[in-house]
Symmetry: C2
Subunit: 271 residues, 2 copies
């Protein structure tokens, strides 16, 4: 038995989906099939969605769940007239804000992920270019870096730096710890004098070997013994130089980023 979950929006649907995902983690729903429906901004499209909801109900035999952030009441009502469990995410939250706290509502369609703040947006794009230019030890002029990630090859540095840039506008460079660096047990020259901006990633050797094997099957680089040695040498380096570090094995890129910002006290956060 599958249940269909719809995320419906008059904009990108990213807010509806992010929140819907989070809400789903709070319930035991068994198997679900998730459908994102962005740009529902006409009556005709709202009617299409209502039809799809009814069809999913008939096909699944289970009542669909519908999370939506549609502002226009004439469109929202078409969804609410289906038999599904329809949750108006904004409606449920905006009304209490108006009523209990006296905030004044203005109705605006689909602006949540628009380019509302051009300056912040440009910062994110600039940080993305920065991360690319300073990826994998490429450019080692770190004068503008907010932070420098270090770690052995395939420990998760690149996706973390890119997410850091795209999501938070943080300029994150990354530098790979090679066998030579690890053997010498000192900081590579490029990283000296940067200690307060360094952050180390580490990973379980088994997981690392698995990732490397997928990338270069049968290589020495992917051997478990080598992964074990690289990881333990890297951890030793972090300890010797008091570099804060994090194990990425069971941690998503979102969690890694948030934890790193938190530890290095970057961006507006409370510590």
């Amino acid at each position: 038995m599958t249940r269909t979950v719809f995320y419906v929006s008059d904009g990108t649907g990213i807010t509806a989906e992010t929140l819907g995902h989070s809400l789903l983690t709070q319930f035991d729903l068994g198997e679900v099939q998730q459908v994102r429906v962005p740009f529902v901004d006409t009556l005709a499209r709202a009617e299409d969605v209502a039809r799809a909801i009814r069809r999913a109900h008939a096909d699944d035999g289970e009542l669909p769940l519908v999370f939506h952030t549609i502002i226009e009441p004439a469109h929202a009502v078409l969804l609410e007239q289906t038999e599904a469990c329809v949750v108006d995410l904004f409606g449920r939250l905006v009304k209490p804000l108006e009523r209990e706290f006296g905030l004044v509502r203005k109705r605006r369609v689909g602006r949540a992920h628009g380019m509302t703040n051009v300056e912040t947006y440009d910062d994110r794009m600039e940080a993305t270019n920065y991360a690319l230019r300073h990826d994998d030890g490429g450019d080692t002029d770190y004068s503008d870096a907010d932070l420098i990630m270090v770690g052995v090859s395939r420990s998760g540095k690149t996706p973390t730096c890119l997410y850091m840039a795209l999501q938070f506008g943080v300029k994150a460079a990354n530098y790979p710890l090679t066998m030579d660096d690890l053997d010498s047990c000192t900081l590579p020259p490029a990283l000296r004098g940067q200690r307060e901006r360094l952050f180390g990633l580490t990973i379980e050797p088994e997981r690392l070997a698995h990732i490397r094997e997928a990338r270069r099957p049968g290589s020495r680089y992917a051997k478990l013994a080598r992964c074990r040695r690289e990881v333990s040498d890297a951890e030793l380096l972090y300890q010797s130089f008091k570099i804060p570090h994090l194990n990425t094995t069971h941690t998503s890129v979102e969690e890694i980023c948030t934890k790193v910002l938190h530890k290095l006290r970057l961006k507006q956060q409370l510590y």
Copy 2:
């Protein structure tokens, strides 16, 4: 007069912040200062946050807004005891789901942006590596590509492809249209036979010149006349080869991605 808005979570705070941002677009609040507070998972940390909220109230002279997704009632109540406008995002949505639709709740802390689905997560990481390898015409073996973005230099291809990968696990390559390609008015050899996977980006020449000027000040590459010509040649190419395309000038990377997925009918969406 500034008002402080807190996004408080026992996890990364990404859900609280995403939804909070969206809700803020629905109100006229004047100037706000936003503070993200992740990993509030102890009484001591909840007490720290409550203190910070009271301090912001005293400093601003305005009642702070607090959006939270704290699951543990003993922690949440500390926030609710401040005088601020406190909105329990999950509480307000989860209770109706339980009551009206009879869904059964399980309490789980901080799993929304964890690595809940390893397979999907690995897809996203693999797609990120794919985007990097196939960035800017680097590797032109497109046999595994979900889509190939084309456009003149600095029209937004790279951030779009990376966001596509990190957020949606879509394998997006990108290929720059050079002056030579544009002069010949045919598809570059690498793109032939790929027409159904191509997507074009375009941009206002003024904005393009501005972006290029920031990158290479005073260069011929950044001259407005040259930008005008490249953009109009690229648009002509899109029309001649019936390549779907989008103007990125006033469009955020989130919007571009969602629109592209929508137009190319990629990923689970309703069309």
